[in-house]
Symmetry: C2
Subunit: 480 residues, 2 copies
């Protein structure tokens, strides 16, 4: 982007702020809740059509891919593929976003109607404002700005928007696999960019280069075939809950240390280079305690300094115990001896941990511990979900292009961050295409995605459009 065009582009974006807000209000007004297709399939489809109409209006090609998981029993929304083709000799970036949203009702504790965009103090409140309608739509306004200013796009843009992200991305993985085949939609893509995560702080942009994987286990203990009354049968039965609780107590200690042999063996060692990335990160330990409700309880985290805390949330594995299926879980008192119970726990995995290898370690551990109990009850261990961690390279040209764009808009280098959770689409794209994926978050850490009073700062929206626009031009400069 030439200096001259950059200024014109920024001015154009600034002048259109009210229009961007109005359109985001239209989008937020469509309750495209994917977890409730029975009531909202029409809304999800409407949101996809609304977006398709904008791409069409801007002269893009569009294609609604019938969801590959559709059956006699269920219809899912299609996947929207769009394309702004400039020149076959130019490189191609593919941007991913989702048009569906989490459920929301005013009664959940919203201060305003969740599906009505409300502006207050520079913030736009509404479900989907930051996750992910606001960020996803940015690309359309960037294309529109180029057309208004009479400037060609610096490279080909492909768009992949889905409507099921908040409910498992049903059908997307199959679509990515199919479209990644030779000659298909994703085959000629050089770079991917996803804006569907958040800054680590409130003021400084970041680029996200790593995500943890997951190994989710279910450990079942069965003592009998029906729940029994503890008054009548306590003293007669080997109780399944006793065994399960004792087993789960051997997994991890109060300080988060994983007690399962072998799990830590394959964790990638820390390099000085990686460690250096943590120094500058915009993250405040005290705010973190406050935002997560720890301040008024123990006021203590597992680590009291930024670097250790972030590393243990991002680049070291953890083990969390989530709960128990089959036991009493209500308020008050119920005198039940549960017949069979299933403990749920999961490990967050990091490079180079392999879920299959972790499964072996966990099974061996639980079997050994169960043998020690000398219980006649039946044990069953199941890995119910496994996903490897994802790690990219901050020095990849895709990241460096984004870093330069951030500098031009914000006047500072971005932080290079990782996240503790997984974004399965990221690995799926990388596996299907072999191309680099950039996670470029636009929203701030306090945007409350998935929660009450979700919001999108107007400043983040405006700067986000600018960053993504400049990023395109930086990508356009990449040779070879």
């Amino acid at each position: 982007m030439s200096e001259g065009f950059q200024q014109k582009f920024f001015d154009h974006v600034d002048k259109n702020q009210a229009l961007y807000i109005e359109r985001l209000a239209e989008a937020v007004g469509i309750p495209s809740i994917s977890s409730d297709l029975e009531n909202h399939l029409g809304d999800v489809n409407q949101m996809i059509d609304w977006t398709k109409a904008h791409i069409d209006r801007l002269g893009g090609k569009t294609n609604l891919v019938v969801n590959p998981l559709n059956s006699d029993k269920i219809t899912y929304p299609p996947i929207l593929l769009g394309e702004f083709h400039v020149d076959p000799k130019k490189k191609t970036v593919c941007v991913y976003g989702h048009l569906d949203v989490q459920p929301a009702e005013k009664d959940d504790g919203w201060d305003t109607e969740p599906f009505t965009l409300v502006e207050k103090d520079g913030k736009l409140y509404g479900r989907g404002s930051t996750d992910d309608k606001g960020p996803a739509l940015s690309w359309l306004w960037i294309v529109e700005a180029h057309q208004a200013l009479g400037v060609d796009l610096p490279l080909n843009i492909k768009i992949m928007y889905e409507g099921m992200e908040e409910y498992g991305s049903e059908g997307l993985f199959e679509t990515i696999r199919d479209e990644g085949k030779p000659g298909q939609f994703l085959d000629d893509v050089d770079f991917f960019c996803i804006s569907d995560n958040y800054w680590v702080g409130k003021t400084k942009p970041c680029l996200t280069y790593g995500l943890r994987g997951l190994a989710y286990f279910q450990v079942g203990v069965k003592g009998c075939e029906q729940d029994l009354h503890s008054g009548n049968h306590g003293g007669g039965i080997h109780e399944a809950m006793t065994d399960l609780v004792r087993l789960m107590a051997t997994l991890v200690d109060t300080n988060g240390k994983i007690l399962v042999d072998g799990v830590m063996d394959s964790v990638k060692p820390l390099t000085p280079e990686e460690e250096a990335l943590y120094e500058s990160i915009d993250f405040n330990v005290e705010s973190y305690k406050e935002e997560n409700g720890v301040k008024n309880v123990s006021d203590k985290l597992l680590y009291d300094n930024k670097k250790d805390l972030l590393m243990h949330r991002w680049r070291y594995p953890t083990l969390s115990i989530h709960g128990i299926e089959g036991a009493f879980s209500g308020k008050g008192a119920k005198t039940v001896i549960p017949a069979g119970v299933k403990g749920k726990f999961s490990l967050r995995l990091v490079p180079d941990q392999d879920p299959k290898q972790i499964e072996k370690c966990v099974k061996a551990h639980l079997e050994t511990e169960f043998a020690k109990l000398q219980s006649p009850n039946k044990l069953e261990i199941e890995l119910i979900h496994g996903a490897v961690a994802w790690l990219s390279d901050p020095k990849h040209p895709n990241y460096q292009a984004a870093a330069r764009a951030v500098e031009k808009v914000y006047g500072c280098e971005p932080d290079y961050t990782r996240e503790g959770g997984s974004i399965p689409i990221t690995s799926a794209i990388e596996e299907a295409t072999g191309m680099n994926v950039l996670l470029l978050p636009i929203g701030a850490c306090d945007d409350m995605a998935h929660s009450q009073n979700e919001k999108y700062n107007i400043s983040n929206m405006m700067n986000g459009i600018k960053v993504l626009g400049v990023y395109l031009h930086e990508l356009g400069k990449i040779q070879g």
Copy 2:
């Protein structure tokens, strides 16, 4: 009961079998479900009125005591007090029963309509047939038989029937306390008899002289103020579930041994006399395994012989872990770090354990174990329900009268049994009046009270009426 009258009474009862079945069918036809007063208050009231009408018809005095817990917000059914007064110089027995039932729907897995009494192979299927309409109504047919045969009742009979037993006996405890005061309804009662539990086996009658008490605990661990995502925050937080699971693992072992110091100190020692009561009990270990669904799982109980097994279900304390409130309890996978969790466990208490003393032991134990964890999280231990065990004396005249009645009907001595659960009304009556309470079960162990296909054997019904009738006359003989 003279030999002559006894035979006439038995003959009369036998001739009226069809009538008793018809009336039980009427009663079962009224779905008096006390746990769902919103839909069934009218039915519970109708069932009480139906019973009152029979007492009135037989010349008894009746009184519907307005439920003392009624308020602007909720109306409970009244408590029905009835009286067949013979002679102020004669002794008085008060019989208790309940006219409400557990919920039931055909879809729950019933083979027949639950609120239609169906006779099959000598069994009467229907909700409430054995719990407790069948047994409770016996008294009315005994009074009716005396009138038909022109014979005076051998002592005064008072009746106390409630309509809330299956939902906490709301209002009954207050009523018992009030009516136990000098000059009130229960003040002149000499003996109490309750037929609302079951035989230990299928063929041999028993008298129940002991029940275990209860100390129900809730142990809460709080780590933060809101649930967190284990991907984002695993590695940052001292997780409450980790601590709770480790705490609960210290309570009891796989073999049911309670690991809380001091709990066993006050358990009443076993005397040879008490031990002897276990020899003859009609109880089969293999059937027990089968009925409780243990056979096809581990095929192992905590004790493999009748005496140890029964003693540990009846006269030794036990500790059961029931579940966790606040954790994930559904099917599948949810990656939550619960903010605060409450573990539920309870001890069944035996003479001479005091819930307050047990609370001290449990609190000391959990606090010590929690201190070992060195966790910054917040611990909260609460005794949410405490009740002492109840123990009567098989040699009390009230029991001996019943034993003689059983011998005259069944031709054998009854077993003297205890139960592992509590029947709070038992202690409440004893505390309010100081008089002996006899538990005289009529139904068999496989009657499936509270479950699908509840039934009442016709033979148990008929012999039950006879036993209770003879018991009255045996009571009438007691002097002083």
